[in-house]
């Protein structure tokens, strides 16, 4: 493609973009960094003020990185942000500040006292303040006066709620990352959001209980460490999409209750800390809540343990409406073989009648037991369309003949669904 081709027909010479509808131009500007956006003012006289009505203003880490070499970047950076806000002329739908780690710039009360009211007057709906520089400070109270927010994400602050907090009455989506909670702050915040539909809490501190009543909530994602003591979700009656990630390993009996109508459920742990699924989602929970599940993602499954595999199979049998299943098992597992349990996995019960898509992603060493599991799925899923078996190879263990034998074994397995397609990726 030649961008500078002066030959070619007249059509190629037209300046289309300057006459595009402003909502379309805004759509393009949305995907450009703030420097590119402001630089458009120099393109032509028509473009002089176009950026000033762009509805989104975002200062990402790449903006701040330019000033890393300066000792005290704060005054430089804050002047630019203030300048941009002052020159902008029109409604501001989204404002984002993402200060990267170790960048010497503090989001002070003074700065936010200047910027937040301005944003509020321009009707800001979506606000993101991410402050990853190491010294934590409290989220300034002025932020809580942004009453029109529908989407709010913040990180790198201490959270305490101002005494006169009247709530974020229109807030639908709330995301917290690396926040330290003062006592009762999280509960006060959420109870001030009567319409909340989506909530995400990750890498937060002093996060020990989740017993919050959230009747409007539809999507919940919780990431927590070993200090988490109890998660109780029976009051989240409308919750249909749940993700639980233990960053430090699971505490048995952590989940006290699950909502009844849950449809999407993803559960796992990072850093290879695993405990048996029987302790994470005990039979009583499975019995009462898995009836409506359509999508299930299980991470960190120990395939080479017979008990674990049998338990997972029993969980699947309790999810008659399951349509999509993802099972992951990464990281270095112990190489102990574990006994072959293909006989114990019932291949005749036709229990996975709605299951259409299965993804099994494992690390090489547990492939034999994954094969028994795959055999079980293929034999019982009458509606299966695709099963993908994705193996991350450890080159010491694998070679072409081994891979070939796996492929052949997969092809020979009995299938309940005639249209099932099995993909083996390595």
């Amino acid at each position: 493609m030649s961008l500078f081709n002066k030959k070619g027909n007249q059509d190629d010479q037209i300046d289309r973009i300057s006459d595009l509808p402003s909502n379309v131009i805004d759509g393009v500007l949305e995907h450009l960094n703030i420097r590119d956006v402001v630089r458009t003012s120099i393109l032509s006289t028509k473009w002089r003020y176009m950026w000033t009505s762009a509805p989104r203003l975002e200062f990402h880490p790449n903006f701040f990185h330019t000033y890393e070499y300066i000792h005290y970047p704060s005054p430089v950076v804050s002047k630019i942000i203030t300048d941009v806000l002052m020159r902008h002329n029109g409604p501001i739908n989204k404002f984002l500040l993402f200060i990267p780690t170790y960048f010497n710039f503090k989001l002070t009360v003074k700065l936010l006292d200047m910027w937040i009211p301005l944003l509020s007057r321009r009707g800001v709906k979506h606000l993101e303040l991410l402050n990853l520089e190491t010294a934590l400070s409290h989220l300034p109270y002025i932020v809580f006066s942004c009453k029109e927010l529908t989407k709010f994400k913040f990180g790198g602050f201490n959270l305490s709620i101002p005494p006169n907090f009247s709530g974020f009455k229109r807030l639908l989506n709330l995301k917290l990352q690396r926040v330290t909670f003062e006592s009762g702050a999280l509960e006060s915040l959420i109870s001030g959001c009567p319409l909340l539909e989506e909530l995400s809490i990750e890498y937060c501190h002093r996060f020990e209980y989740f017993h919050i009543s959230t009747p409007t909530l539809k999507v919940l994602s919780l990431g927590f460490d070993k200090n988490m003591k109890s998660i109780c979700l029976k009051k989240a009656q409308n919750l249909s999409d749940l993700t639980l990630m233990a960053n430090d390993g699971w505490v048995p009996g952590l989940i006290k209750s699950l909502p009844k109508n849950i449809q999407r459920f993803s559960i796992g742990s990072s850093f290879n800390k695993k405990i048996p699924y029987a302790d994470i989602i005990p039979p009583t929970l499975v019995k009462s809540s898995f009836n409506s599940i359509k999508y299930l993602k299980l991470r960190a499954v120990k395939f080479n343990e017979r008990g674990e595999l049998l338990y997972i199979v029993s969980v699947l049998k309790s999810a008659p409406h399951l349509v999509e299943l993802v099972v992951e098992s990464y990281g270095h597992l112990d190489i102990t073989q574990g006994s072959d349990c293909s006989e114990e996995l019932d291949c005749s019960s036709r229990c996975l009648n709605q299951l259409k898509t299965v993804n099994i992603n494992i690390y090489a060493t547990s492939h034999q037991h994954a094969m028994s599991f795959i055999q079980f799925i293929l034999a019982n899923s009458t509606s299966l369309k695709t099963l993908t078996f994705d193996v991350l190879l450890d080159s010491r263990e694998f070679d072409a003949p081994m891979l070939l034998s796996i492929s052949q074994h997969l092809l020979l397995m009995k299938r309940a669904s005639q249209s099932a397609q099995v993909k083996f990726i390595h």
Partner: protein, 154 residues
């Protein structure tokens, strides 16, 4: 994951007529992805041929193909085939037909081709005529000095 649009539950076909008269027969569920067309159908239920006055046959064909095939992989490769002129016309078409997924894909593609580029480069790409006086241009460069730092060399 792309839905299996070819196995539509509704086998009703609809005809779309592009601005240059080219006709396209599409399944109802494909046509419904174009919200403008959906609104048309909602208004006149028995309609069989819908005029699309703002879009050339060439571009309507591309749009229909996109709706049928869209998924992560397809979208990543999609924009590479078109020159800037076509990208803009496709964006106008997606905007008129109100297909948000395609609009987003095209906006990203256009932005990607000009990100971090100098004003001279951007003007060439879009055929924008610079009608700023030299004084105005100098003034802007000074006012927004910070925005002109770190730009890619042409």
């Amino acid at each position: 994951m792309a839905e299996e649009k070819s196995q539509a539950s509704s086998s009703k076909m609809l005809t779309l007529k592009a601005s240059d008269g080219v006709l396209f027969e599409v399944e109802l569920n494909i046509a419904k992805e174009m919200k403008t067309v959906q609104a048309y159908i909602d208004d006149c239920e028995d309609i069989e041929t819908i005029p699309i006055p703002n879009v050339l046959g060439k571009h309507l064909a591309i749009v229909i193909e996109y709706i049928k095939k869209t998924n992560e992989e397809y979208d990543a490769e999609f924009e590479k085939q078109w020159n800037m002129d076509d990208l803009q016309l496709l964006l106008l078409a997606a905007n008129y037909l109100n297909i948000s997924g395609l609009q987003e894909c095209l906006c990203k593609a256009i932005a990607k081709r000009i990100e971090n580029k100098s004003p001279e480069y951007v003007r060439k790409v879009f055929n924008i005529e610079n009608d700023h006086s030299p004084e105005e241009e100098a003034k802007l460069r000074k006012e927004y000095k910070w925005a002109f730092e770190g730009v890619d060399k042409d």
